[in-house]
């Protein structure tokens, strides 16, 4: 590993203008300066420093963590870029970490591709890259390769990020959406809908003042504890877009089982309930960025619940439902009122109701 030492010695380029222009995407010195100033400085690590076209890892290093690779990618186009509880950078790091972690993988390396609209301030980019670097450091992963493109005004909305992640799945862990069976227990690690509600509020076009913050958080630590306490879990998934309802439908469909949840047991913050009430939205479909849905065999449900509750990201964990006899593929809810309703997949986006 001599190369990193040599490259590290070079002086990083700097941007001296306040905003990004198309010249920063032209492949010349301006682009190099932007990448250095914003990303290389923030992500500072030995694998990135050589600025090769690819990051390189030793297979033996990877093999220490388990016996299979996990590989995932996700794009982030959130508006606004900065919102209560997080920003697009933190979201892009934790989102991909969580996609690896729910497969039972230890997240190790990320890439970061940025599409920047001309006119965005360099300070904003520095802020977002700084946030990514902090998020990655706290989660113990490295951002090791990346790409930057600058596009015409209107060709994207300020900043789009794509992160791709590599992780290693520990031996013996075998989780699958098709593995749920009758009698299994469905759990979540905490309050649902915070992220979706926070983003809608932060857009500011409904003039609702709330204290709701995004729940954006890396879940691999919690999942480590969970798998240690309950090694035979059937399935984990982070309930991002489409919320709890969508994940449950995916489970019911893939495993060909019926799932019933209990509305009174489903943990939702009062603020989020009130927010949904006003706009006519259903919190079961709101996005989360720090919540997992767990399907556990009945004998492990207690251990899984206890392990989550003992972790800071699982204090409000709860058993929300069960896999039970019924029409395969169907998700139902016992409502707070005592009735039952079907919880189906959402067709499009939830739109606020007229009255």
């Amino acid at each position: 590993m001599n190369a990193p030492q040599r490259i590290r010695a070079r002086t990083l380029g700097q941007v001296h203008v306040p905003t990004v222009t198309l010249s920063h995407g032209g492949g010349g010195k301006a682009m190099k300066d932007l990448i250095d100033d914003v990303f290389v400085r923030a992500f500072d690590n030995s694998a990135l420093a050589p600025l090769e076209d690819q990051a390189r890892f030793d297979l033996s290093d990877l093999a220490r963590h388990g016996d299979r690779l996990a590989f995932t990618t996700d794009s982030f186009v959130v508006d606004p870029l900065i919102f209560p509880g997080g920003d697009i950078g933190k979201l892009a790091v934790y989102g991909t970490i969580n996609d690896l972690a729910v497969g039972g993988a230890r997240p190790l390396y990320l890439s970061c591709a940025a599409i920047v609209e001309e006119g965005v301030t360099v300070d904003l980019l520095r802020q977002i890259a700084g946030s990514m670097a902090r998020a990655a450091a706290e989660a113990g992963v490295k951002i090791v390769t990346g790409d930057t493109k600058v596009v015409h005004k209107g060709a994207c909305d300020k900043l789009f990020l794509t992160t791709t992640g590599i992780g290693v799945i520990r031996e013996g862990v075998n989780l699958g959406v098709h593995l749920a069976r009758e009698g299994d227990v469905v759990l979540v690690n905490g309050l649902l809908g915070d992220h979706g509600a926070a983003i809608l509020c932060a857009r500011g076009d409904m003039a609702l003042a709330t204290q709701i913050e995004s729940d954006c958080a890396p879940l691999h630590g919690l999942i480590d504890d969970l798998l240690a306490a309950a090694p035979d879990l059937r399935f984990l998934r982070d309930a991002t877009r489409g919320g709890l309802a969508t994940v449950l439908n995916e489970i019911a469909e893939a495993s060909q089982v019926a799932v019933e949840i209990d509305e009174t047991a489903t943990p939702i913050r009062e603020d989020v309930k009130a927010f949904c009430e006003i706009l006519g939205l259903d919190p079961l479909y709101l996005a989360n960025e720090g919540k997992i849905i767990v399907v556990a065999p009945p004998e492990e449900a207690g251990a899984a619940l206890a392990a989550m509750r003992a972790h800071p990201l699982g204090v409000s964990a709860a058993i929300v439902g069960r896999v039970q006899p019924g029409e395969p593929g169907r998700v139902t809810m016992r409502t707070v009122f005592g009735g039952r309703r079907i919880v189906d997949m959402l067709v499009g986006e939830q739109l606020p109701r007229i009255c």
């Binding site: 006519g280 139902t332 005592g338 009735g339 109701r353």
Partner: protein, 376 residues
């Protein structure tokens, strides 16, 4: 949530359900002809499905989900007009969220937006007026939609625009009125309804008197109902009690919100700004006399229909669509020939599949567990 959770109490719900069962047991209702009670308002339909109310009722009671979802009953021709206005270069077209998905004959507003029209979701007509002030070089059009519930807020916004001389603001008026529509349903020869849950928020504006004809001339009981599930159960119980005691009255279960005389300032604003149209076209129900309003001549400069040229074409409902029969309680949503096949929430053919408040969409989405289990 205070003042809401109290109305969703499952212990009180079971008491009410037992009361309803006890009442039904004394009424000798034949299995093959259950009592059909129509909830007129889409908000009720939403609550009924959201809380699973239907499945809690004895099988002798069927709920018929009525025409009171303003988004659902919007005819395709009017959506086409919206799209035509929205696609004009200098226009910012503003609308309530759930109207975005309603299909026109060419496209929905959501598709028009994707194709480049400046269509924006607002939460109040006042937001649209604020947009007009902020964009003096653009024409801001508000898609006025809904029954008497939303009619006053549009009227007050127009009065505000007049007062402040905002010249670049107008309303594409599609407000409709509930009473002629209930009358049209009552007049239909294949009617199978035994009673009504009356609209709550419409009545908050118009009061209870406009419904008297339903009891007087059509001899059907009506209970004006609140939107929480306990409100709905209690109102159903009240309708049943009227039927059992052979009374036909307009009763008000939602007295905490609905005053007998309605809301006088709101009614004044409505009377000042609008006049009745001779007829208005409804998706699923056809043309109904005096069922829509337009802006009076004094407010012509705020009338998008006069400000912009629109195709103003009548587009017939698809032939296979049986929304009208569902609306009148003649068939259940899942008995329609195209339910869930040619007509789905992704590609709605008929009105009732459009909004989550439409009976068919509600069945498709939330599902009548009772119906599904009966079918299994």
């Amino acid at each position: 949530m205070r003042y809401l959770d109290e109305f969703r109490d499952s212990a009180k719900a079971s008491i009410l359900v037992r009361e309803i069962e006890a009442l039904v047991a004394t009424m000798d209702i034949p299995d093959e002809r259950p009592l059909n009670i129509m909830e007129v308002c889409g908000g009720h339909t939403h609550s009924i499905f959201r809380y699973g109310v239907e499945g809690m009722l004895p099988k002798q009671i069927e709920l018929v989900h009525g025409p009171g979802c303003p988004v659902c009953v919007l005819p395709m021709g009017r959506v086409d007009d919206c799209v035509a206005i929205a696609e004009q270069k200098h226009v910012i077209f503003t609308t309530f969220g759930d109207a975005m998905r309603v299909p026109g004959s060419r496209k929905s507003l959501l598709q028009a937006k994707a194709d480049g029209a400046d269509v924006r979701m607002v939460y109040s007509p006042m937001d649209a007026l604020a947009l007009a002030r902020a964009n003096p070089t653009r024409e801001v059009v508000f898609f006025g939609l809904g029954f008497e519930t939303t009619m006053p807020s549009t009227a007050l916004t127009i009065l505000q625009a007049e007062k402040d001389s905002v010249a670049n603001f107008s309303v594409f008026c599609n407000h409709i009125t509930i009473v002629p529509t209930i009358k049209a349903i009552l007049d239909s020869p294949d009617l199978k309804l035994d009673g009504f849950l009356g609209p709550g928020h419409v009545s908050m504006v118009i009061g209870t008197a406009p419904y008297e004809f339903i009891a007087k001339y059509y001899r059907k009981p009506m209970v004006i109902a609140g939107f929480e599930p306990l409100d709905i159960l209690q109102s159903i119980w009240m309708v049943l009690l009227q039927i059992k005691e052979r009374r036909v009255e307009i009763e008000n279960q939602y007295a905490r919100v609905v005053p007998e005389g309605g809301n006088a300032p709101a009614l004044r604003a409505v009377a000042r700004v609008y006049e009745l149209r001779e007829f208005f076209e409804w998706r699923g129900l056809g043309s109904i006399d005096h069922s829509g309003v337009r802006l009076r001549d004094e407010y012509a400069r705020f009338d998008a229909e006069r400000k912009f040229s629109v195709p103003n074409l009548r587009i017939a409902d698809p032939k296979s669509c049986q929304c009208g029969e569902v609306l009148k309680g003649v068939i259940k949503p899942w008995q329609c020939k195209v339910f869930g096949t040619a007509c789905t929430p992704e590609r709605p053919l008929g009105a009732l599949m459009v909004s989550s408040e439409g009976a068919c969409a509600a069945y498709y989405q939330y599902g009548g567990v009772k119906h599904h289990e009966a079918a299994e």
